[in-house]
Symmetry: none
Subunit: 195 residues, 4 copies
DNA sequence: GATGAATGAGCCTTCATTCAT
DNA sequence: AATGAATGAAGGCTCATTCAT
């Protein structure tokens, strides 16, 4: 990598730098704590610089929401796209439950991102749907394989995955669960949707 | 009623007035939209008056969160405290799923309240736990009656109630479910925790 | 005057206070020099206080323009509303020429006010027209009395009053004229519109 | 043309380019609308480049004012430098009255330029005086020829030319005058200074 | 106890200017 | 000479909070 492209990459990264700093602040102090001045400090740039990359605070927030959705989807769906339906479902479920273990205190959770201003706009809901489509696909595949009950996917997701989300939230709030307990929970979820 | 208690009641009413106005504004415009000035207007009092009842905005928000938790608990647990375990569980589950249908546009949902600043403080988590204790009690009773699987209550709640919460959230986002579909979901939840 | 109304008047005056301070700053440093912070300091109030009286800087400027137009009209038309047409015209003409002598360095001139942002809006042009109507009336009366040439008033104003405005501007820029010279100018103007 | 002068000319062109762009922006959006960034864009150069030619915004504005004064003088004095005094005066007067008809929406008027920040500095007033000297000369010549009244030139200018300026301003504000009316005005001005 | 005018710190954003390339 | 990303002071404005009445 020559010097020029090195610099270029640094500059491109400035956008990322800002976004990461924003995430960090919100994770630490909530959205109320995010001021452009503080963000500039945390990102190590001047206040005005932020506006070279984002039209305004709203646009920055919007991109942050997108970023987090994608990151969450990546973690949730890790290694859950190949193998048998059972393997994929198991992978997905545990990824969800153990989600918090992978995030540092600098990272926003999916739940937090969902409640940033503007995260409920139609545009974002669409993004959510398409980002998490692979998750739904696992259940669709299970239904088509005659393995899962023949029910609307949303119901299957709510029944089998939502409990994992709830457990993850409880863990994030500090509640502890043994592997044994979590395994039991997994079994309940798994069997509840099996034909 | 003597003068003192009359005045006391007036004060209490004014406090309620303020809290209701705050809820209304947040439900309508989000927490960002809640300014003390606007709140005073909506509540029909002077700005300074709010500070007779609340030390500051944070204290007001905290009390609002408590209020909403209690209200939600009331709705969720409506008619779910007597009858057989099955009756109580059924009542609870459907109360959750149909929660949104009972709230007006002036009311904050449980989810929204959960994400107000400070709602995740240890103090509030404790309150949550005690407020929703009756819900846990239904499952505890079921376990003790030998009807539900003998598992830690949190797991049972996550498995059987969390799906209802997820469905309610989806409905609030505009997703539609038929009674048939919801009944199916109920059956899955119910059977998944039965011994 | 009791204490209450004294206070009330002080408060009402705060608006005037702000307007006067704004005029003073603009006269001294130009419109570019008018920042809300500086204005607050000069007016002896807090920055936020200005916004109790004016929605924004634009509204404040607009009212300032109106104020100055009215003030200028008052000075220009002083004692020019009674007497013969000749007396009234003479009064008007000299009021214009000596306008600058009456203004302190804290006051905006008519010319400066005319070039504040927004001063050319249709709304202000209308105000201008009605405010200076009494000036036009003097010429109208002269025409109807058969004393002035029977020409459109605008032409008469331009021919007889505009020179006075020009002389006033020159004096404001530091040029000196003797009474003799000014009297000669007056005669030229006066005779040019006489029948 | 050697390389040096070629480059010199390029620079000069770029300077002109910047100045023209600045005039265009101010004419369109007012002085408030002139930002160095926007200017760079409109002029087709980089923001930093402007600072090769002008020390700062103030210097640029100053030169713009000068440029416009010269341009205005050019238009005003067009064809007014030869012929009899009467011919020259007539030419001058009509050039002034019809000034607006010759300017495009990209050009600043004399009035606008007069009210740019700094346009009232002593330095500019001197420039004004020397730039418009040929105009004064017409009247001086008329006086020396025994044609005009033997009065200080400033008075003559104020009496005979200022009305034309006033009419031009009214036209720029949208007021309409017939050729007949303007001719009448011309006659008044002309005769008012004739011996 | 209630009022609401006043406060001023802090917010988001702009923009003249610099400087490494 | 030219670029344009970066700077950061300053701008207009909001709003939680105070306090004289």
């Amino acid at each position: 990598m020559n010097e020029r492209s090195f610099i270029a990459e640094l500059m491109t990264n400035k956008q990322q730098q800002i976004l990461i700093a924003a995430e960090s602040i919100i994770a630490r102090e909530g959205y109320q704590g995010l001021s452009m001045q503080k963000l500039a400090e945390e990102a190590g740039v001047a206040a005005g610089t932020i506006y070279r990359y984002y039209d305004n605070k709203e646009a920055l927030t919007a991109q942050l929401v997108e970023r987090i959705f994608c990151q969450v989807a990546l973690v949730i769906l890790k290694d859950a796209e190949k193998g048998t339906v059972e393997q994929r479902f198991r992978r997905l479920w545990w990824n969800v439950v153990e989600f918090d273990a992978r995030t540092t205190t600098n990272q926003l959770s999916y739940e937090q991102a969902l409640h940033l201003p503007g995260a409920n706009s139609g545009q974002h809901l669409e993004l959510l749907l398409s980002t998490f489509q692979p998750m739904r696909q696992i259940l669709v595949d299970g239904v088509e394989a005659g393995m899962f009950k023949d029910i609307r996917v949303e119901i299957l997701v709510a029944t089998s995955i939502e409990p994992a989300v709830g457990l993850a939230r409880r863990r994030q709030q500090g509640m502890k669960f043994s592997n044994n307990e979590l395994s039991t929970a997994y079994d309940l979820c798994w069997h509840s949707i099996l034909k």
